[in-house]
Amino acid sequence: MAKGPILAKAPAKASEGSALAQAKRYKASQDELLRFYRDMLLIRRFEERAGQLYGLGFIGGFCHLYIGQEAVAVGLQSALTPGKDSVITGYRDHGHMLAYGIDPKVIMAELTGRAAGISLGKGGSMHMFSTEHRFYGGHGIVGAQVPLGTGLAFGHKYSGDGGVCMAYFGDGAANQGQVYEAFNMAALWKLPIIFVIENNGYAMGTKVDRSSAETDFHLRGTAFRIPGIQVNGMDVLEVRGAANVAVDYVRGGNGPLLMELKTYRYRGHSMSDPAKYRSREEVQDVREKSDAIEAVKRDLAAVGVDEEALKAIDKEIRQIVAEAADFAESSPEPAPHELYTDVLVGTY
């Protein structure tokens, strides 16, 4: 009876022909373009300043900058509603917070470990949260945010609040076993979650092809029938176009969706990374040819926005970042008694 081994068909490019494959570059109004420019520039300048404050000893420990990847968080989260849709990510979290409208001052003050920081100075760069915005961190264990985000999505479905969860993780995190445990349950229970793999090419010093058997990360959900979309993460309009399709799909009760955003980090993995695993030329090449902020500048020029308007935004952003840095440098450290607060909520 045996007909010989059955060869599995090569996994289809997720949902080709379906609505998902129709994702188009977003047609932004001039106002929206300016908004994207502003939000990305805020992240870039904020992170540059954070790097500088690190060098000056104001920021300690691990500090992972988002420079280069700005279009991902800005493009995706512009399709979400803060306070309704939840967002969760790993330790490289400053950009996602800024993209969700969280005050740069309290983020910077957390980086410097001050009482005015969003976690009262007790979390630091990797552990920041704003339940008000439904931004749920800020997690230091690679991959942990994937089941946690699936739990947030479970909550959206359980309480019927209409929200979706966006859970970000890296190409390195995508090899953690718990990610696939979460994929399975998210698909099984049709949870409203968008899994976002930010494929920046490296996990610390390991290039993706040295760690991953399948480097087309958007196919990683195939075994769980989770459709995937691959997106150029260096083009905020392409990101936003894909985000719209993804949010519609997931909010429509169709279960989870996987997005792979091809992106690149310009700086080292953290502040203490000498980045010897890649050449200076490689980094310069991406900066010159694919920078997301430069791309949006070109889009703005095409719709007739002049240099002056951009200069005004640059100036405004520099001001915001300078104020955040001043605030973060001059705020007091947490009072000693805070050492003992917020260990437990109740008293027993």
Binding site: G57, L120, G123, A335
Partner: protein, 444 residues
Amino acid sequence: MAIELKMPALSPTMEEGTLAKWLVKTGDVVKSGDILAEIETDKATMEFEAVDEGTIAEILVPEGSEGVRVGTVIATITGEGDAGAPAAKAPAPVPVPPPASPRPAPPASAAPEAPSGGPTAKMTVREALRDAMAEEMRADDRVFVMGEEVAEYQGAYKVTQGLLEEFGPRRVIDTPITEYGFAGIGTGAAMGGLRPIVEFMTFNFAMQAIDHIINSAAKTNYMSGGQMRCPIVFRGPNGAASRVGAQHSQNYAPWYASVPGLIVIAPYDAADAKGLLRAAIQSPDPVVFLENELVYGRSFEVPVGDIVLPIGKARTVRAGTDVTIVSYSIGVGLSLEAAEQLASEGIDAEVIDLRTLRPLDKTAVLESLARTNRMVVVEEGWPTCSIATEIIAICMEDGFDDLDAPVARVCDEDVPLPYAANLEKLAIVDVPRIVAAVRRTCNR
């Protein structure tokens, strides 16, 4: 305006470094991202990038300089002159305000001890646990149960019997065999505002999930400055069962009890199981609730009606004057048996059930010690780094003057649990060993 460039700290621990090479010279125009210099730390050579745009005005530290302290001004740049970043200031010590009075503590979470003397009914620990979950689920729609075989199969140990029928599949959820994943999903759901009860088929399998229990559930409230609540209960059988071998027979109480941010409860009888599980579900904090398979089927009198017991309070289950036996979970039953036997020998033992292991009721332990002056700790688990060693440390630190004899511990043997019936029996704490230890402690 001149911007000072300072020797950067390029790692969390760097204090000084070598300015190996300048890649720019006075008069060069630089933009953000350009490499200015190479700096050697003890670990690596790093590139130092420009953050601001401008012209290099002056190089103050020549290349080849060793031992340059972090923060030393190494060069200056003249900026474009447009508004914006002022020259960064050196870190100045920031005055710490005098400690404000601590925030008002939230009210104690649990109702007072169940009234004694009221009507009671006999029920098993298994039924008591089920009733506790059902009562909380009736009262609060945010409470749900998830785990392997909890719904259709009615629980691997039948603790969730009947819950699917009453509450339906929305709230009683069978998971795949994927502890790491569903512990994380439960924790995320709690962070999002639900009140999950996550059942582990046994706590042996929770080792795969311990990262979420400790790193995600226990620490996030602290790390978020009190923003991120995690009201979740992780429950299931813990400790040795019967003849299931080393991988399925382990007491994790000391592991979890060492973690700030967790509540750890390990009840013995049915009334405590019910009253404390209800308190655990109501608690705003993450709770590890350790049950015992060998005790599930035992019956006890349980007060009829609403019982919610206080977390963090031990209970004197037998009053006595000569010696205190401190225990928890299945060890309480053994201790009571031993106390009866000792009574016939003229030793009047007090037995204290800790019930909650974190926070531990130190006061109850020390008060009893002050009366009896002798103490033996009984624990079904390994002796090293155990709850027993913790109790002994408490007595040394805070009860030393009350001690008439060294505190003794009676624990399992310090070996992985063997399968052979005779060896297993030899490995696990039992009544004769408790009796012998109490006699020694009382110099009899």
